[in-house]
């Protein structure tokens, strides 16, 4: 697949996933925090039914960068851990697979709070 073609597919798929969330927020008054929770869980579900890897092959970052990718990553980690360690993997796989993202976000948050100050909101 050529690079421009891949980028167009990424753009469209990522855009559509965000539009669905936008419509959920505007039409159902679902709060943003609930959208994030929903998307992570949906990501797990999509991976569980085996649809995520084929989607990833076509759309690339268009499906891995939205939070459903975060969820799919958890599911993938759980699956691999269950295959290796049995039932114990259901407890260890999820956090292991998502540890890089969580750790990066938490550390960024901590450093930002040390180094920066909030500015008042402007209209």
């Amino acid at each position: 697949m050529s690079i421009p073609y891949q980028l167009i597919l990424t753009f469209i798929s990522g855009g559509i996933i965000c539009v669905i969330a936008q419509l959920l927020i505007d039409l159902t008054r679902l709060t943003p925090a609930r959208i994030l929770v929903l998307y992570v869980s949906v990501g797990v579900l999509i991976y569980a039914v085996g649809a995520f890897d084929p989607m990833k092959d076509i759309f690339g970052a268009g499906v891995t960068v939205p939070l459903i990718g975060f969820g799919a990553n958890i599911a993938k980690g759980v699956r691999e851990a269950v295959e290796k360690e049995g039932l114990l993997g259901a407890l260890t796989g999820g956090l292991t697979a998502s540890s890089a993202g969580i750790t990066a976000a938490l550390l960024c948050g901590l450093f930002a709070s040390v180094l920066f100050k909030t500015k008042s909101k402007r209209m």
Binding site: C18, P32, Y47, I74, A100, T118
Partner: protein
């Protein structure tokens, strides 16, 4: 005046969000962030990372960029227009964590930053882990059943 009449009056006079404009902006910004992610993925693969490492590095890079933009007070100005376009990519997760941390600094690093950093991150992690756990148990049972068949 009964509650039904009031509800109708409120509904009648409350403008709704501009669905078309909001959706268009969410599509554009969401797509753009994913394209940046794809370009980063290509870059890291080009530099010799394997697929898994490159994927993790993309996530971490986007989290870092969103954190910097949040710290400089730029993220919320973009997100005001982008809506779900910045919320749904991993940038929204990063912004939620970093903004909570910065905001609660005045209440101390332990019960301020330390506790409130999880206000939005906590639910995402909790229900991600829950879904993963449920899937893990089902998958384990599935492997047992498959094993018995053989």
């Amino acid at each position: 005046m009964d509650s039904k009449v009031k509800k109708e009056l409120i509904k009648k006079h409350s403008p709704s969000s501009s669905l078309f404009k909001n959706s268009l902006l969410a599509f554009f910004f969401g797509g753009l962030i994913c394209v940046i992610g794809e370009l980063l993925l290509m870059l890291y693969s080009h530099l010799g990372c394997d697929e898994k490492t490159a994927g993790i590095l993309v996530t971490v890079t986007l989290i870092f960029i969103a954190a910097i933009l949040t710290a400089l007070g730029i993220f919320d100005k973009i997100a005001r227009h982008a809506g779900a376009g910045t919320l749904v990519p991993v940038t929204g997760f990063s912004n939620a964590v970093v903004s909570e941390a910065m905001d609660s600094k005045s209440e101390g690093y332990v019960l301020g930053v330390g506790a409130k950093i999880y206000t939005v991150a906590g639910p995402v992690i909790l229900y991600g882990i829950l879904s993963g756990f449920v899937y893990g148990v089902i998958y384990y049972i599935y492997t047992l059943v498959e094993g018995m068949k053989l």
